[in-house]
Amino acid sequence: MVKLAEWRGKEIFRRYGMPLPRGAVVRSAAEAATAVASGAVPLPCVVKAQVLAGGRGKGGAVRFAATAAEAEAAAGAILGLEFKGERVREVLLEEKLPIARELYLSVALDRSRRLPIVMASAQGGVEIENVDDAQILRLPVHPFAGLTGYERRRIAKALGLTGGAARSLDRVLTALWGIFEREDAELVEINPLAVVGDAVIALDAKVIIEDDASFRHPEYSEVRDDRTPLEEIAREKEIAFVQLDGNIGVIANGAGLTMATLDVLQQFGGRPGVFLDLGGTDDPNKVTEAFLLMSKARPAAVFLNIFGGVTRCDTVARGLVEAMKLVPPEERFPLVARIRGNNEDEGIAILRSAGVTSLHELRESVQAAVAAAAGGRP
């Protein structure tokens, strides 16, 4: 999932003909001054920190400026701020428009219907979860038909738009749908979509691009969220790496098995720390890589729960024993392993003879891991 900052979202919006406020993105206070002086950003203007987190307005990351000096000062003050853990590197300056009403508009996927769904509400400018259900139009759109004229009319009606504003909405909808389909978006959201005079204008832009479509969109590869070095390594190896606040490391294969493992771990008083999900695979190389990666995270104990499909358990066990030898002494941790599937008895025997606690049942394995993390011998 590639979440784009507002200014990047608006670059895409512009390419698709979305009506937008005039503005400029800047990376220094001096650039802000120039942007206003050159007329690229009319005054008065809004100065917005370009961070992914929400709640910028309340958090002081959005300011207003009536003069070039104020704009420069506001940009300078915001740049370099840390907002909810994100450093502000870009600031977006935009003309401040006389807003008559604020609307909500988005398109996302409705998994149950297996259709894209457009959502529209006349109650925009607030978090949409807080809007009453009855105030939100949900319109499934068939990909083979696209966003039809009659659907557009329904949306305009739900938003209370007629005449020029409805025609202006039509441009917005064409852009919204085009971006969703052609940019492989998971979400395109405009909140607020502002009614300004006889037109509607996208004041904010939230665009999330689907990771799986990155082979079609190399242009988004450089704009991924910041990741820690460990997360980056995990990503390259296609291992899901998630940091929680506990002290037990979990390595499992497959999202369902990983979640079930965490569920049982918590049930028996364990606190999961890092967990690594290898995906559906039991590739012994990947097991080894995950093991080495885990050692970098310095867990109090590690529980490894692999259900073998293709590979035989003895092969996985041998790889694991080899990997253990590669871990430097200061990074070693107590390990409880559970390897199920083909040839599981041999696998268990190999691990046990290498001194690893290797159990058969999920419950007893988890209990052993919890005990190990608490300082007991696993």
Binding site: L109, S112, I117, L187, G254, G256, P272, G309
Partner: protein
């Protein structure tokens, strides 16, 4: 009888010459599946594990009367492979490939649906009817013929649970791993009626996960048009509320999607709910015994 596949099912493996395709062709053959053909463009004329390889699905169908496809081709080409299977007249395609963009899958699903073809998956372990046939990648070792149906959104967790059923001395009629992607070709709602109609299934184990509303939708089917006992498990009760789709996702789901919501819906619909996977075999055995007494 079994669900969707049986001993007569004639399988073509798309992407048979790749590593995964080859490994699982061997496994399927060992399971007893009739893998009659494989395809890889440009590699027609070869054989893999004794199975003839063709350049196109149409040739495979013409020459071997294949009627079901298992797709292993890489994600960028998976949509094309599925359309090829549907256009060649196949009525069932198991898409094992992971990381297919959901926009592609929207096209795949609605195209197949319009042509009357069914997709299992993508990103799924596929389907197996022990003693009859397997179209997919679930390990052979977990199965044993029996009368328990399994429908699951998970991969390896399915193996774990199916294995648990076997180790408890029970067996499976048919097991379907639906896949956990945002858009899947066959959902619980689609699969449940197949098991309801299957005379060889006495009970269904339903394995869900947090996220989406598939389990809540399934509960509605259980409540209104499902007569067999159901044992359900939902993974992820310990996970913090997910935020994958942000605000818009939240309003699509509207309070559904959590483990609590799913478990409550399934319980209300009469399912026996397991809190942890290892509780499933006992619950299954008890429900079967109760059914036997009635």
């Amino acid at each position: 009888m079994s669900v969707l596949i049986d001993a007569e099912t004639r399988i073509v493996v798309q992407g048979i010459t790749g590593h995964q395709g080859t490994v699982h062709t061997r496994q399927m053959l060992q399971f007893g599946s009739r893998v009659v053909a494989g395809t890889t463009p440009g590699k027609g004329g070869q054989t893999v594990e004794g199975v003839p390889v063709f350049d196109s699905v149409q040739e495979a169908v013409d020459r071997t009367e294949a009627n079901t496809s298992v797709i292993f081709v890489p994600a960028p080409f998976a949509k094309d492979a599925l359309l090829e299977a549907v256009d060649a007249g196949l009525r069932l395609a198991v898409v094992v490939t992971e990381h297919i963009p959901f926009h592609d899958m929207l096209t795949m699903y609605h195209y197949a649906h319009a042509q009357g073809a069914r997709i299992i998956g993508p990103n799924c372990p596929g389907i197996a009817a022990p003693g009859k046939s397997k179209a997919g990648i679930i390990p052979n070792v977990v199965f044993r013929p029996g009368r328990v149906g399994v429908i699951s959104r998970s991969g390896t967790l399915t193996y774990e649970i199916v294995n648990g059923i076997k180790e408890h001395g029970l067996g499976q009629s048919t097991c379907i791993g639906l896949g956990g992607d945002p858009v899947i070709g066959t959902t619980f709602v689609d699969a449940l009626p197949l098991f309801e109609a299957d005379p060889d299934t006495d009970l269904v184990v339903l394995v869900g996960e947090i996220g989406g509303t598939a389990e809540e939708d399934a509960a509605e089917v259980l409540r209104t048009r499902f007569s067999k006992p159901v044992v359900a498990y939902v993974a992820g009760r310990s996970a913090p509320p997910g935020k994958r789709m942000g605000h818009a996702g939240a309003i699509i789901a509207r309070g559904k999607g959590t483990a609590a919501s799913k478990l409550e819906a399934l319980k209300a619909a009469g399912a026996e709910v397991a809190d942890f996977p290892y509780e499933i075999p006992d619950l299954v055995a008890r429900a079967l015994a109760e059914r036997g007494r009635r």
